[in-house]
């Protein structure tokens, strides 16, 4: 009898703990839930506008496959939590935040600081801290979400592809919520958040005589694309937006912080024709050195590239020509890193962060100087050294343009 009672109690406890009983609030049926996958945050007067992109999963008829439907919803509230609760006034399904992959925040919202808006995502029990953060330049987060969804694409998938391919050019990066939180709470280093931009495609002037083609071009307005390019940089103390690093300057920043995966460097052969180099490997060491109280920091970059395309006809595979290409790529990388340093010095924010390197290498010294770091940072002497090599080319050696003799 006693054993039966014990077993019954254990089963009962497991039953309710597993969320199968109605007294457990918060349980959700998989088919009755909207899974938030992408979130957009915008400013709306004195409120926050919250846009959520949801995915619902439901069994397709007579198959085991699941059907995905993307929808987006917009609401406003004084806080993110309040705005989230307002969804329940009109949505026909329950919202689940445990699948949030991307958080888009508009530039206008971050101008006064990012920290306030991270609290919800850090605190909420459903959200995961590995969701990636993006700041949307000029446009609102809602606009960028609408742009992609209205064109019939899946914004979460688009962002996923952008994130996966970010290393191909290495002009931006990925920053999960917890990493942004860690840097924001460090008052000595500036935070960086990847930047999304909406680019309008320029209408090309064409001399096409095809009347039909011309009329189609006139009917279509300028198309817009969502592009992952650059970083938004935030102030260490207030987490306010201080500026952007885009294009090759952002790549220079990535060289400095060791986030280069690949990339393209276009140099010129002796005849002035383009030679495209593909970055294969890059490693940068930040070496701090104290001369008395004066701090000198050297960025030492080692770089390997392969020749990916030759537009001229010159034979490049001589010591002299390879040396010429190496010299050019060294100069280009050096310039990009220097541009990132100039940005940091201009805004007096340690974006690399050098403070961490100094702390790691000189922990005792760091303890004495950390309170004056922002002042010390502006007085640092920076050196950039690039040591690169070109390792190989691919399937053919001589360029296509070189002609056989006779």
């Amino acid at each position: 009898m006693r054993r039966t009672l014990i077993i019954t109690l254990i089963l009962f406890t497991l039953y309710i703990s597993a969320g199968l009983e109605t007294m457990i609030g918060g349980r959700k049926s998989i088919t009755d839930a909207f899974y938030v996958t992408t979130v957009g945050l915008d400013k709306a007067k004195d409120k926050i506008k919250l846009t959520i992109v949801t995915q619902s999963l439901g069994p397709e008829e007579e198959t085991e496959y699941t059907k995905k439907q993307d929808k987006y919803f917009v609401t406003e509230g004084k806080t993110i939590f309040e705005a989230n609760r307002f969804f329940t006034t009109f949505m026909d399904n329950k919202i689940f935040w445990g699948h949030v992959d991307y958080i888009l925040i508009s530039e206008s919202l971050v101008k006064n600081g990012l920290d306030t808006y991270l609290d919800f995502f850090m605190r909420d029990h459903e959200t995961r801290l590995i969701a990636e953060l993006f700041i949307v330049k000029e446009y609102s987060a809602e606009e960028s979400i609408k742009l992609v969804i209205d064109s019939g694409e899946d914004i979460t998938n688009t962002l996923h592809v952008l994130k996966e391919d970010v290393g191909k050019l290495s002009v931006s990066g990925c920053v999960p919520v917890y990493e942004a939180f860690s840097t924001i709470t460090d008052e000595n280093c500036g935070s960086n958040v990847p930047l999304l931009q909406i680019i309008e495609d320029e209408k090309e002037e064409t001399d096409s005589t095809d009347a039909k083609e011309a009329s189609v071009a006139e009917d279509n307005p300028k198309s817009k694309r969502l592009v992952l390019d650059g970083y938004a940089l935030l102030d260490p103390e207030s987490s306010e937006l201080v500026g952007f690093l885009t294009g090759n300057d952002a790549r220079g920043f990535n060289f400095a912080i060791n986030k280069i995966k690949s990339g393209v460097i276009v140099v010129e052969d002796p005849e002035g024709e383009d030679v495209t180099l593909e970055i294969i490997k890059s490693k940068t060491k930040i070496i701090p050195k104290f001369n008395g109280d004066k701090l000198e920091v050297t960025f030492k970059t080692k770089l390997s590239t392969n020749i990916a395309e030759i537009d001229g006809s010159t034979n490049l595979f001589t010591d002299e020509n390879i040396e010429l290409l190496i010299k050019q790529q060294n100069e280009m990388v050096k310039k990009e890193v220097k541009n990132a340093i100039d940005f940091a010095l201009k805004h007096n924010i340690d974006i690399f962060p050098i403070s961490k390197v100094v702390e790691r290498k000189f922990p005792v010294k760091w303890d004495k100087i950390k309170d004056d770091w922002r002042k010390i940072f502006t007085e640092i002497t920076f050196n950039v050294e690039v040591d690169s090599q070109i390792d190989r080319t691919y399937s053919i050696k001589e360029p296509v343009l070189s002609r056989e003799d006779g």
Binding site: I6, T13, S17, G26, M122, L129, F181, S182, V364, D367
Partner: protein, 361 residues
């Protein structure tokens, strides 16, 4: 085999110790140590291991000298009766408060991390009812159950570590310098406070006698050292000390954010399952130990008639101890840790010293 019928082996006691240290370790040691020692917090358990080894030698003396006697009898043998009884009362109060803390945390853990809109009583009453029934089976059944749970716990912990350790960012757990010595010592206070072995000496009359106490004790200590270092190392290494020191469920947060191969997540559900199992062991063992203390204090033949009333009192205290989780956390950090150090380290050392002076041990 027959000689030890109705008793548990020292190995089983050490398994119980490991489980009962594992459950609070998951909950708070990463947060508590990284709050003081930041990136160097993973070194804190080494200090605690040193203290544990010293305690192990002291307890070994008691174990060898007082065969088939429990810690209450050791206390009464080494101190005047009134003082001895007072010390036992202190132990009863301490273990009851600790038990109450763990019961409340058991419920709070669910409503914080998984079911925020659920009445916490559902979890608390369920577990207490099971404890009330299971405890009647005796320590042998509890120890065997613990062995099984130990295997499950180890498999799950090792699996999680396999996934988590390769993703640790070394810059989050370095640099280590002389500046970290004091913070590491400060951080080690909470790990020292988990040296629960003296509590289990209150039912040491139910341990079988052998000469492997030190060997099993050191093995258990090393096991605890490894799991504590790993819990802190991966938590801080993955999320950084800033995030971990602010999170009430630090290791849970780190596990929740595992994303294996960019696709598979939700590993926290596995962790929660070990939590329930190991929490159950800690609650049942503490209750068993507390009831043994009461039995010794009042010279009772059996504690079974007191099981229900004791558990009911602990349930009431669960609500009296703190109005909300913030009070509970403050209570744990500002009182329970130091209470533990006093009853688990200071008092046994004093009794040992008295015994030495009196040449009893």
């Amino acid at each position: 085999m027959f000689r030890n019928k109705g008793k548990i082996s020292v190995r089983q006691v050490m398994i119980i110790l490991i489980i009962t240290v594992y459950t609070p370790s998951i909950r708070f040691i990463a947060r508590a140590t990284s709050y003081s020692a930041k990136q160097a917090s993973w070194l804190s358990p080494i200090i605690a291991f040193g203290v544990y080894v010293i305690m192990l030698f002291i307890l070994n003396r008691f174990y060898k000298k007082y065969k088939n006697k429990n810690f209450s009898e050791v206390i009464l043998d080494n101190t005047p009766k009134l003082i001895g009884k007072t010390i036992i009362v202190i132990y009863i109060i301490s273990i009851t408060l600790l038990l109450v803390l763990y019961i409340r945390y058991f419920g709070e853990r669910f409503v914080t991390a998984l079911y925020p809109n659920v009445d916490i009583n559902i979890f608390i009453i369920s577990i207490l009812l099971i404890v009330a029934f299971m405890i009647r089976s005796g320590i042998v059944v509890i120890a065997r159950m613990s062995e099984l749970m130990f295997i499950i716990m180890t498999i799950i912990f090792v699996s999680l570590m396999f996934i988590m350790v390769p993703n640790v960012q070394l810059e989050n757990v370095t640099p280590i310098s002389t500046l970290d010595i004091i913070p590491v010592f400060k951080g080690s206070i909470v790990t020292i406070a988990l040296s629960y072995l003296p509590f289990y000496f209150f039912f040491s009359h139910e341990w079988s006698q052998n000469d492997k106490f030190l060997k099993h004790g050191i093995m258990a200590g090393l096991y605890i050292l490894i799991i504590e270092v790993l819990i802190i190392f991966v938590s801080v290494g993955l999320m950084g000390s800033t995030v971990i020191s602010r999170s009430p469920l630090s290791f849970f947060i780190a596990v929740k954010n595992i994303n294996l191969l960019g696709e598979i997540s939700g590993f926290e559900s596995i962790l929660v399952s070990t939590w329930i199992l190991t929490d159950f062991v800690i609650l049942i063992v503490y209750t068993y130990s507390a009831l043994n203390m009461i039995k010794s204090l009042f010279n009772l033949g059996d504690f079974k008639p007191f099981i229900n009333i004791y558990i009911f009192i602990t349930y009431l205290l669960t609500w009296i101890i703190a109005k909300n989780v913030f009070e509970l956390q403050d209570w744990g950090a500002q009182f329970a840790v130091y209470m533990n150090i006093n009853v688990l380290i200071v008092i046994p050392v004093i009794i040992f010293m008295i015994g030495k002076v009196r040449k009893v041990v």
